[in-house]
Amino acid sequence: MDGPLPGLVLTWQLDGLSLLFGLVVLSISAVTTVYAIGHARHHHGFPGSGLLYLLFIGAMLAVVVAGDGFTFLLAWETMSLASFGLVLTDHRRAGVREAAWSYLVMTHTATAFIVAAFLLLARTSGSLAFADWSARAPAVDPVAASIIFVLGLVGFGTKAGMIPLHVWLPRAHPVAPSHVSALMSGVMIKLGIYGLVRLSFDWLAPGPAWWGALILGLGVTSAVLGVLYALMEHDLKRLLAYHSVENIGIILIGLGASIVARSLGAQAAMTLALVAALFHVVNHATFKALLFMGAGVIDSAVGTRDLERYGGLLRRMPITGLCFLVGSAAISALPPLNGFASEWLTLQSLLALGRASDDPLTALLPLLAGGALALTGALALACFVKAFGISFLALPRSPQATEAREAGRLELAAMATLAFACVALGFGAVPVVSFIGQLVPLAAVPTAGSALGLTTAGAGRLFVPGVALVLLALAVLAAIVPRLLGPVRSHIAETWACGITLQPIHEYTATAFAKPIRLMFRDIVRPVRDVGIVHRAGTRFVASVHYRSHIAPVFERYVYLAVKDRLVAAAHVVRRAQNGSLQLYLAYVFAAMLTALLLAR
């Protein structure tokens, strides 16, 4: 099909996987656009930012329906540039330009890796068309396949936000306007997953088990480190950005397990793990967009992203609070919501993979990964108790929080839609999983009747509507039965604070809430704390105490800065070859010409 320019040929393909990701892009974008229209009065975009926004969505759609390498890369670049522009919306604020710049550099480096992978794939099959790559997948020789895999992993992994390539995420997502963050976190990083799924299942034949083990290991690292760093944050949007890293880790755990299962030939485990990963893609898009919208609403209402300034917002913004509560429960993997269903599926797939392998190492790793997944689930719960509890409950901690106003109707409608979707995806987990299986044949799990789960004897089953129904019924009983003992009244009084009137300063802060976990994991998180005591002049009486605590940026200091320093040092060395002398440059040209002649002989 001829594109906009003569000679520019763009091809498209629409298969089940594209349809699935396309549906995710479309639905989340639709809801986010409604939110953006409602939220527009709070931020002043530059002229044309609306158009850029639509271009961004269009580019994302183009990525999933691209049919050959060129179209894909064109759409990919457009998407990256459009999001870069959107991140710069508030470019007059401090820090925004650096964040956008680091995002641009990292995403371009990632694209370079993807281009290299595409070129290697094209070399084997002779064309850039995806259909040809699928057809010629078994013909790729094993060493080249591994190289392509690693290149693609780095490239798509950066876009997805996998550790250690995640550093752009917590910088770019908080400074972008909330509708852009919702799209970036909810949809754009999933396209990295789309690329990885295509690469591993479509364009390359089943490879050695270490491919999947590598993704599994990186997924576990991303999940655990992501949620730990999220717990240490008190900027609400940075917290959510780190949670995106965590959830990408969970998706990668499922994806890695399915790749390992494919290498071992364990069919049942493979389909279960793949459907778990794809289901989590859908779920995460839903609740992450919801949470970012909520964060945006709160940010506009209170005027800051700092959790320590919030408090008591449930009274002032009840519907926002309810939606945020549903989103928090969903991301903490609580029944009967969608986060629980996909995490349940991931755990079952890890167990199935463990039982299906003969080699002790490949059997043990998924089971231990299951333990790590349980850890991240519990830590995510801690983080969202903190986020929701500090923001919405108890007393307001700042005058702005006391005067916060509820969001507009469009924003509330958008959030309520996504909250309802979280509940519906949880209750309707079985139909949704079957639907995914119909779209993606490799992920077609036979559901055991009306419940989730494998049909093997003894395998666990999950029927969310049933559990939810029983839960509701018992809650009703718990509310009604005690009344049989007679009526009681409840009196309103002040909270007991050892006899003094409760002030906001007596409440628990977000930093204090996370302190036990910060101390328990201090070897991994490396908190740094400075305490300075200022005495009254000439005396030993304390006038004030300054307390500063922050997290040492491990990845940036030890990985990125180290690499950057090496590169700069190497560049200095190479620079000596450019000393400005014309004769030397002519000598270079002459030497290059001679070499080329000799080689072409």
Partner: protein
């Protein structure tokens, strides 16, 4: 009925648990008591193998273990400790948390290395071989990360226990001469260390091996 193999398996895992527990202990007296428990468990293993296989020399090994490892050696160590003032490991090279993580990792490596090993003619307790390898690793860990001389001796005896367990399982007990020889060696090692420790403690008022590095030319 629970077979002898399962009993030996259970005792082996209990040995591993005790060894892991001793990694987390900083008190030297408790460390020696844990050694006593280890030796008692080994004696039980020897007795169980003796009951099920009917070999008489296993009983001799069991009694010897009881006498030497569970009574004599700990008695010597307790006497040494009674003379020493500071009975705790104050600054180990690896903190307790990290040491436990490393020890569990070493146990994992031991299982992966020896778990699928099937020795012909060996007693059919499958857990015992990986556990003995794990004991050797954990003993090495103790020796490498502790400063006090007694702690290093505890590590050495743990290694010895691991080797002994391998000997019990693999060849249904080492020949009695070799066994007695090893016991004698161990006794001499313990005795020399004890005497040296007491002397050094008298002279320098510390058992800390860091301080002993100054005794150079």
């Amino acid at each position: 009925m629970i077979g002898a193999a399962a009993v030996v398996d259970g005792l082996a895992l209990l040995l591993l648990a005790v060894a892991l527990f001793s990694v987390t202990m900083r008190g030297l007296v408790s460390g020696v008591w844990l050694l006593v428990v280890q030796s008692l468990l080994l004696a039980f293993v020897a007795a169980t193998i003796g009951v099920s296989s009917g070999a008489a020399h296993m009983w001799a090994a069991a009694i010897l273990t009881l006498a030497v490892r569970a009574f004599a050696i700990p008695a010597v160590l307790f006497r040494v400790l009674a003379a020493v003032a500071l009975k705790r490991e104050t600054r180990p090279l690896l903190s307790t948390r990290h040491a436990l993580i490393v020890a569990v990792g070493l146990a994992l490596v031991a299982y992966l290395a020896a778990g699928r090993l099937e020795l012909t003619g060996a007693f059919p307790a499958r857990q015992a071989l990986p556990v003995s390898l794990a004991l050797i690793f954990i003993g090495l860990l103790l020796m490498a990360t502790r400063r006090k001389a007694i702690s290093q001796l505890i590590g050495l005896i743990t290694i010895e226990n691991g080797i002994f367990l391998t000997g019990l399982i693999a060849t249904l007990g080492l020949p009695l001469f070799v066994e007695i020889g090893i016991f004698f060696d161990l006794l001499v090692a313990v005795g020399v260390t004890a005497v040296l420790t007491l002397r050094i403690n008298e002279q320098f008022d510390t058992m800390n091996t860091d301080e002993l590095r100054r005794l150079r030319g």
